[in-house]
């Protein structure tokens, strides 16, 4: 871009600063509240405390919800990475009906979650499947599948065909080529997709509210608690989750970005 005159640069910087404030202030509220007591909107800066973190350690309700969220997240990751990778391989193989299949995979991601969730709710009811963690995992997998699928497919499409051809020329069977050549090349995309899938599952609220049984995941638990307002230990949890999420972002960036940059350079 050509350098603009000064006033416009200032304007751009001011708006960008505003965007940063708008985006980050909702994140700072719980973090600040986790260390300081707040009454009637005033922060008492004089006495930082870790008491909310201690309270969190004793809040079995929330810890159970956290455990449920992690279980659901891990199941979702396994299911979506396996099926997403297989579906990407199917598409990449130029098989029949692949564009329709791709459209179906993207549908739940494009539709508002309230529609995907309600559709699944009715579906589970009609086939007589009791609402439980299983239905939550199915809902999450359907939702995040598109992301894993797309991440793996992009890697497949950027992979050089010569690698596979070389493998065949050297006498490898189709299986050997898959395990020794294709899969290792896909692994970092699969890990990146898995992290994204986990992050989405971890935060998924709408579909979960609709298809969950008696056990609730963390966002659903928080959603239910919101009517009453949060206790300080929730802020501690939120602060911890934010740190954890930042860590996930950094990891996802490590697995996904270097390859893309390398691709752009080549």
């Amino acid at each position: 871009m050509i350098a603009l005159p000064r006033p416009s640069t200032l304007f751009l910087a001011a708006v960008t600063a505003l965007v940063a404030v708008l985006l980050y202030s909702p994140l700072f509220v719980p973090i600040v509240s986790s260390f300081f007591t707040i009454s009637h909107g005033d922060v008492d800066w004089s006495s930082p405390t870790l008491s909310s973190y201690q309270a969190l350690a004793g809040n079995n309700d929330i810890l159970a919800a956290l455990r449920t969220t992690l279980i659901v997240g891990l199941c979702t990751v396994v299911l979506s990475v396996v099926s997403g990778t297989l579906l990407a391989l199917y598409y990449h193989g130029g098989r029949s009906g692949r564009s329709i299949l791709q459209f179906i995979i993207f549908l739940p991601f494009l539709m508002p979650p309230i529609i995907s969730g309600l559709a699944l709710l009715i579906f589970f009811r009609e086939i007589g499947l009791e609402r439980s963690l299983l239905t939550v995992v199915i809902g999450h997998t359907v939702f995040v599948l598109a992301i894993v699928y797309r991440t793996v497919l992009m890697r497949l499409q950027s992979m050089s065909r010569t690698l596979v051809e070389a493998s065949y020329d050297l006498g490898a069977t189709a299986w050997q080529t898959f395990w020794r050549v294709i899969l290792p090349n896909l692994s970092s995309a699969m890990v990146g997709g898995a992290i994204l899938a986990f992050a989405l599952s971890f935060d998924e609220t709408m579909i979960t509210i609709l298809v969950t049984g008696t056990q609730s995941t963390l966002p659903v638990r928080l959603w239910a608690m919101m009517r009453l307002g949060f206790s300080p230990d929730i802020n501690a949890l939120v602060a911890l989750i934010l740190m954890f999420t930042v860590l996930l972002c950094v990891l996802a960036a490590r697995f996904l970005v270097p390859q893309q940059m390398a691709m752009e350079r080549s």
């Binding site: 871009m1 416009s8 751009l12 505003l18 539709m111 309600l118 966002p219 928080l222 919101m226």
Partner: protein, 277 residues
Amino acid sequence: MSLLAAVLAFALPVVFVVVPLALFLVYSFFSVDQGTIVYAPTLGNYVRFVTDSIFVPVFWNTIVLCVSVAIICILIAYPAAYLLTTLKGRWRYALLMLLLVPLLMSYVIKIYAIRSILGLNGFLNKALVALGILQQPSTLFVFNMNAILLTLSVLLIPFAILPIFLSLERIPQTLLRASDDLGASGLQTFLRVTLPLSLPGVVSAASFVFVLAIGDFLTPQMVGGVSGFTFGRILYSQFGTAYNWPFGAALSVALAVVVICAILIGERFGRNRGTSV
């Protein structure tokens, strides 16, 4: 072998995506009689949606609300995205990451935090009073349509930044230099070259933000109060208190139609055409 592969590939997506959505569509033609669902086809739900004096106005107001959210997001996101493209190398992507990271933070928590910022004792009121803009704290910003508008805008800004940034980044430097060489001022170059070439990104951004805003139930439910009644909330209530699943399904179909239109518009006009010089 290839038939088997096709059956396996299609099995799960068809069972868990196509069948539920199709069933949902079918449900919208059923009706409810005294708490039980009557499995006989009827257009009654759609007739009720169109003729009842409640639903169409709420539907329309929600669409207007979400278009406003999209406009606000674009007006704020465009300058930020533009600033990003003026940065060099590493800084550009670092700042982009910084503006996208809040997306991955808990949605429910963000809504809660924004609500407390907008509230009567919230930071926004405190700041406005301190600046002398307001005489006393106002309830203008919470539990009404304004609150939904502001909260959704804040939540969805990153979705507007990314597509606009991508389309700005794709504009060839040579075009801008040519414009400069031909004697255009910075403003002229922006208005005549940069802005038109970035419009596809703006349309994609608008489509993204609109679709996410209109499909959202959590935000209006949490910050909308009694007066901020959106279509998503009416829809949800059909599955809760009103207990009329078929009617709720019909409302969802109406919502889906709007969403599909928005996505198609985004696809049709949002493609970056003619910029790959």
